[in-house]
Symmetry: C2
């Protein structure tokens, strides 16, 4: 496995590869969810590349950039076990040199939900993914369904800008009890870890109501909200039932829908989602 | 010469090319200035590609999109004579399908001069060039020095987004009497064509003052302005003497500077520029 600590070094190693390249962009602190992406990339491509880069431009001024967990040695040994070919670990100063000033803006779908809660977040995500795609030149790129809105944004960007990269959705990997894997789960203490289950419980409730025939989105949102409010450590940021391609809120589930939510458990903001067939 | 009328057709032909590719993006109605770009591309690369696309998103609502001159048959026969390998002529509906919504914004340098006179212009330019680079995958791309600010914007975008494309500057090609070649020159009637020389005369005046030792930018701007004002058909949009890399206006020419101007001759808005060594 070749580890490139800067862009020219990566490009040189990239040039030597023949055949398809599957790419998994990450911010490191890898868990089973990331490794699932890596395995899919490996299964579907001749070569596999992973980037580890905590992208400062997707964090808001009051967010957890400085505290974001990192463990590059463990990450690299896990990627070695997965037989990854190439790893890119650039410095922030190389990715965003002094005078940096080009941004990719995806309109519409970025304004809601995570975009509303985290202004500038998706501009940072779209920009860094555009940069990484240009550096890595992948055939396919793999993203987890847990970040449902991010996936929609990246698919839209790749299509609109004719990037020629296939963006592949990989289902969310969960802990034994249903909690979605996330690097931020490490922030939770034991009691919060227990409370954090309320996200998965609320999504399961939505799925059950839907499979019993409920199509009124307001009814489902209200039941989810009531369930989360019973958990004293949980504070709802949003509970959304939205069109799966535009993320416009639905009043009736008459098409494929994403049920998503953001909930603060103590100081830790967690997100999760499921898709309903409509 | 292969002419692709849509993106998949172009990509298929592109895949068959081996070795370097020089790329010249144009809006068609090709003149000697364009052909000079094509010749440079051909001389410096194994393969040459040209795009002909009148990009609607770089025109303002009151600009000349509908009237912009076009002659695709003549363009293609000229490109055939220049032994171009590949031409891309996509439809606007393919480049900007319904629901299109991703934009590349280059900050700072786009806010002045042409950017101030034509809001949204450089957002349209940066976006279409990003798309074309993604479709064409060139080794080098060639742009005329006549659009000095556009060149700075595109170089900044390519560097910031790690596009891996070399952006090459080609000197402005002029008519026998000094008028910079432009597709928009066709709008000029005989008298206006005569008046249009005032742009080149003002730039020549600036060069002469500079070579006699004048370094006060205000003095040069004023002399240029007075000269242009003697021409009754000319209406100044701006006369600028600016830092060649940031386009910040200079009070003293103590570094490489771009002297640029935009002047309306009748209803036709013309631009031109020269660079002074500092």
């Amino acid at each position: 496995m070749k580890v490139a600590y800067n862009i020219p070094e990566f490009r040189e190693a990239r040039r030597k590869l023949n055949g398809s390249l599957g790419f998994v962009p990450t911010m490191g602190y890898l868990h089973e969810g990331h490794l699932e992406l890596v395995r899919r990339a490996r299964a579907e491509n001749k070569n596999t590349a992973v980037s580890i880069f905590i992208n400062p431009t997707q964090f808001g001024p009051r967010e957890d950039l400085a505290a974001y967990p990192r463990d590059p040695d463990r990450d690299l040994s896990r990627l070695r076990e997965e037989k990854v070919d190439l790893v890119l670990m650039p410095d922030a100063a190389e990715m965003y040199p002094p005078g940096y000033g080009t941004w990719v803006n995806v309109e519409g779908v970025t304004e809601r939900l995570e975009g509303a809660a985290r202004p500038g977040h998706f501009r940072g995500v779209a920009t860094v993914v555009a940069k990484l795609f240009n550096i890595v030149e992948p055939t396919r790129a793999y993203f987890g369904e847990k970040d449902a809105q991010q996936l929609i944004v990246i698919k839209k960007m790749a299509a609109d800008l004719d990037m020629g990269v296939q963006v592949i959705t990989v289902p969310t990997v969960r802990e034994f009890d249903g909690l979605a894997m996330s690097s931020r789960n490490v922030y939770l203490d034991l009691e919060e870890r227990e409370s954090a289950l309320v996200l998965h419980k609320a999504l399961t409730l939505a799925r059950n109501l839907h499979s019993k025939g409920e199509r009124n989105a307001d009814v489902i949102r209200k039941e989810m909200t009531a369930l989360i409010q019973e958990e004293p450590r949980a504070k709802i940021d949003y509970v959304s039932i939205a069109d799966a391609s535009t993320l416009d809120e639905l009043s009736s589930i008459d098409r494929p829908a994403v049920v998503s939510l953001a909930v603060k458990i103590g100081k830790t903001r967690l997100i999760d989602n499921i898709t309903l067939a409509g």
